[in-house]
Symmetry: D2
Subunit: 132 residues, 4 copies
Amino acid sequence: MSNFIYSRKIHFADTDSAGVVYFSNLLSICHEAYEEVLLSLGINLSNFFTDKQLAIPIIHAEIDFFKPLFCGDLINIQCQVNPISDKVFDVNYLVEKDKNLIAKAVTRHICINPETRESQFIPSYLKTLFNE
Amino acid sequence: MSNFIYSRKIHFADTDSAGVVYFSNLLSICHEAYEEVLLSLGINLSNFFTDKQLAIPIIHAEIDFFKPLFCGDLINIQCQVNPISDKVFDVNYLVEKDKNLIAKAVTRHICINPETRESQFIPSYLKTLFNE
Amino acid sequence: MSNFIYSRKIHFADTDSAGVVYFSNLLSICHEAYEEVLLSLGINLSNFFTDKQLAIPIIHAEIDFFKPLFCGDLINIQCQVNPISDKVFDVNYLVEKDKNLIAKAVTRHICINPETRESQFIPSYLKTLFNE
Amino acid sequence: MSNFIYSRKIHFADTDSAGVVYFSNLLSICHEAYEEVLLSLGINLSNFFTDKQLAIPIIHAEIDFFKPLFCGDLINIQCQVNPISDKVFDVNYLVEKDKNLIAKAVTRHICINPETRESQFIPSYLKTLFNE
């Protein structure tokens, strides 16, 4: 997979009383793009996020904001999945509106056993996402 | 306008640790349907929700839940706008998944001057939404 | 138990671009009061909400708004738990700021087996909450 | 000011269907600590976040997660405000539970004129927060 694009309008609930999107909500909107990537593999999201053998929690997230977003804005999120090790991968997001870069984000994910919290190898079906 | 349909997948952020959509998030998802209705009129949502002459806050909301929703579920929301008086209107929502009724909600809106909080008449451009 | 009071400041994340608390967030804030009531019984909330024998989902919620709330406002929520049947109970909420009634809400809860979705009796430890 | 501590229980609404706090919600909870710091200066938060002369948006946020958080957990957030330039400052957060480090976060804020988006000097009343 090379690039994946997720399109989404900004909802009223995404905004705050400063009149723009609340900062951490944009990370949440980026995560929706990651979910669409998973859906594109035919993954059942409900099972994926409650799997008792394999959990893939976020260990790091960061976001840079270049321009504000307003209710009703249509954004496109370009999404790439990149391996960091055989147990860790990054999802990189570029948030654009009208071809202007609005924000840039990354979430870092580690594969673990949710009971023992021990790290696990990235399952092969996720490796097809890697941008190679 | 008769019926308006809004389609939406359930995001991970919509769920809670009971494994299903958190109850008040479904009201928020219904509000997205109302926003799409407003967009269909050509309304600029950012201006609409920050208008200094006319605010249309929600004075009542209610929702009945018939079945749970899970991450990744695709829902359709049927949305109707109905006048209650010349200053108040309801937005009615039917939330469906695979043609099963999942939830039923309503939000009641009053037109006011946001400074004085005095009630105002429903503007004529919104009356075109009424289901008559 | 008669009345339970939960105090809470309004956070920036609770607000929307109209400058006040987003409507469904106030239901979520009311639910925090219900959680405090459960904690006052010594309940482990994480186990409570993920229990595989007994789930207590919300089947109905409603809220009336009398006055707007702003970021930084200190609110008190009076909370009462009332039986509706031997399987269903209501949690009633009065939201106040500076002794003014801001909103009034209710959440209706049913006891079920989360696998079969069959209704169950209200467990006795919850009956001590009933306002009698 | 040296250190500021904000205490908070994890709410059901903070969690997701993986059973733990949803990643971006912890950034939002950190922002609550920043709001408490502002309140400790006697700032009116509603005016602060809607000020037409001076806005202080977040231009960068990041968070590292070391351990999961569950509904009902009591956390303490240590919060420090540090100048980066005469127009930019960081808020650093250490999230702890039972004296274990759960997460570490930072939000970077820039002072701007909200109309022109031009950068402004940090107002003197905020400089009293700097950890010197």
